[in-house]
């Protein structure tokens, strides 16, 4: 469950966005898109691990790729790590996107927002392998932070929206879906909570799987930091780290 994985590469792919590839036997345990790893970035500081979602799993090469935004002290420090250095990785953790929700020939709509985009890449890869037709909608704030458009385009029709209109369609992912009346059997999404909420409201009767983000302590379900409410109950809860991060729409209160 824990390994000092070796950094194969670590470089910037968009403004403040980094692509990190790690090598190690832990990859053989990574099967499900949407799962995450808990990474100890520094020796003493920062104290806590950082949850980072898996973007690409390459079992054959025993390599996995993570895309992260260098924003806080931990991820800034991570962005300075060099190939050949090792990284203390715990995982894979959490429950990912269910692939069995779709059979060959059916349509999946993958919707990602900002740094929520990465886990959809492995999902798209595995869905396409299963014969599922994939359409992708990616939303970003601005042109500078757009990444992986071409990579997703190799799996299916890919749309990009930016909030400021500097690239792709101006607006939000929900606007793209509405304008193009994109058809789907199942929608998978990962991104900021307002985006997930909007999708849930836009498609109240459809099958949606939403990946949530929450501040975590332990990442394994012991600290109760990342809980969310369950509809119609004062005391029932789900933990984002161990019950999620992927939930079926309606399963938890957004």
């Amino acid at each position: 469950m824990r390994e000092n994985m070796i950094i194969v590469s670590n470089h910037q792919i968009a403004k403040g966005i980094y692509e990190l590839t790690l090598s190690g036997s832990l990859v053989q345990r990574m099967h499900t898109p949407g799962q995450f790893v808990h990474v100890k970035v520094g020796h003493r500081e920062p104290l806590l691990r950082r949850p980072l979602s898996l973007c690409d799993i390459n079992e054959e090469a025993s390599e996995c790729t993570i895309i992260y935004r260098a924003e806080g002290a931990g991820t800034m420090l991570l962005s300075q790590k060099q190939p050949g250095e090792s990284l203390d990785v715990l995982g894979p953790l959490g429950n990912g996107f269910p692939l069995s929700a779709l059979s060959s020939g059916q349509h999946a709509l993958l919707v990602g927002g900002g740094i929520g985009v990465p886990p959809l890449y492995e999902l798209a890869k595995q869905l396409v392998k299963n014969g599922v037709c994939v359409t992708v909608v990616l939303g970003f704030q601005t042109k500078d932070v757009v990444f992986y458009e071409q990579q997703f385009a190799s799996f299916g029709k890919t749309y990009v929206a930016t909030a400021d209109g500097s690239y792709g369609m101006k607006g939000f992912v929900t606007d793209v879906i509405e304008r193009h009346a994109l058809p789907f059997h199942v929608l998978y999404a990962c991104g900021p909570k307002p985006m997930l909420k909007a999708l849930q409201q836009q498609f109240p009767h459809k099958e949606l799987y939403l990946s949530l983000e929450e501040r975590m302590g332990c990442g394994v379900g012991a600290c109760f930091a990342c809980v969310c409410h369950v509809p119609n109950s004062e005391t029932a809860y789900k933990k984002v780290c161990s019950d999620g991060p992927v939930f079926r729409a309606g399963e938890v209160v957004l």
Partner: protein, 312 residues
């Protein structure tokens, strides 16, 4: 000879290492990483009479060498713990210290009465120091008379020894410890978290939804050491020490200050294997320091009648 075995009221420990309450759930998560039977004991998550959801998120924030939490005593309630969690834990050869919390004296008493009857509960830890709940919690842990009254009431109904968890958020921790000793407590556990706060520089708002939270981790270790050093020389109760322990060296430091066992909290979040690793490392460290048995370390730094300069 087991060099790590420790005898405390109600507890025959194969080693003095246990996970601290609130940092280990009811053990299910860490049981996926290792066999819980290697632990000296386990302090389970605070249990209240009714189930509690706790505070809104975000509930954690990072600090230099520490973390703030404001979970708010989320737990499934004493009936559920008795029906599901404790029977499940019985498969492991590990004594349980049940952390008891409440909003009123009556609630503490009721939880203590019920949970102390569970066969694998060997001691209670009275949670009078949680800084993250509005009613109960820290209010019980900052006024010596109130803490003493609660200790007495719980002692009366408990089938097992009662340890009281001291709050560091007081002016005079020795006065608190003495009041609790006189009220009949069997031991002390110390320290709980310190009330702290962080503010988001971009928004100007507190990072925690609760506003304030409890600071834990290595940042609070010097405070824990000082308080254990003071209290252990002022009372004759055994102390289970906690507060930022991350290594076997930290454990010895707590023993030197006056602890007879220790609990590991935040470090579990950083390294799920920290407890078994420390247990494995202790014998070699005892060799290096020239001790036959870990108990020889307890109170080694005491002043033995000399002036205590703490807080001067």
């Amino acid at each position: 000879m087991n060099r790590l075995a420790v005898e405390l009221p109600g507890l025959s420990l194969k080693n003095p290492i246990m996970p601290a309450s609130g940092c280990f759930g009811f053990g299910r998560e860490y049981a996926k990483f290792y066999d819980l039977s290697v632990l000296g004991a386990m302090m389970i998550k605070a249990t209240t009479l009714e189930a509690r959801f706790g505070n809104p998120t975000p509930r954690v924030a990072e600090t230099p060498s520490g973390m703030l939490n404001a979970i708010g005593l989320q737990n499934p309630g004493v009936d559920y713990v008795l029906a599901e969690e404790l029977p499940w834990l019985a498969q492991y050869d590990v004594p349980i210290i049940a952390n008891v919390a409440g909003s009123t004296v009556e609630e503490y008493v009721e939880v203590a009465k019920r949970i102390s009857k569970a066969p694998n509960v060997h001691a209670l830890e009275l949670n009078i120091s949680c800084p993250n709940v509005k009613k109960g919690g820290i209010a019980f842990g900052t006024v010596p008379e109130v803490a003493a009254e609660l200790t007495r009431a719980v002692k009366e109904v408990s089938d097992v020894p009662v340890y009281v968890k001291l709050s560091p958020n007081v002016t005079n921790i020795v006065a608190m410890a003495k009041a609790i000793e006189q009220a009949g407590a069997d031991g002390l556990t110390m320290i709980n978290t310190l009330v702290g706060m962080r503010i988001d520089v971009k928004t100007g708002k507190p990072i925690l939804a609760n506003g304030t939270g409890g600071l834990s981790g290595p940042a609070i270790k010097p405070i824990a050491i000082r308080m254990i050093y003071e209290v252990s020389q002022a009372v004759s109760l055994p102390i289970i020490g906690m507060g930022g322990i991350q290594s076997a060296e930290d454990v010895i430091e707590f023993f030197y200050a006056g602890a007879s066992a220790v609990a590991i909290g935040t470090a579990n979040f950083i390294d799920p294997y920290v407890c078994p690793n420390i247990i494995a490392e202790l014998p070699a460290l005892l060799d290096e320091l020239g001790f036959d048995h870990i108990s020889e370390c307890t109170g080694r730094s005491w002043n033995n009648g000399q002036t205590v300069y703490c807080g001067a």
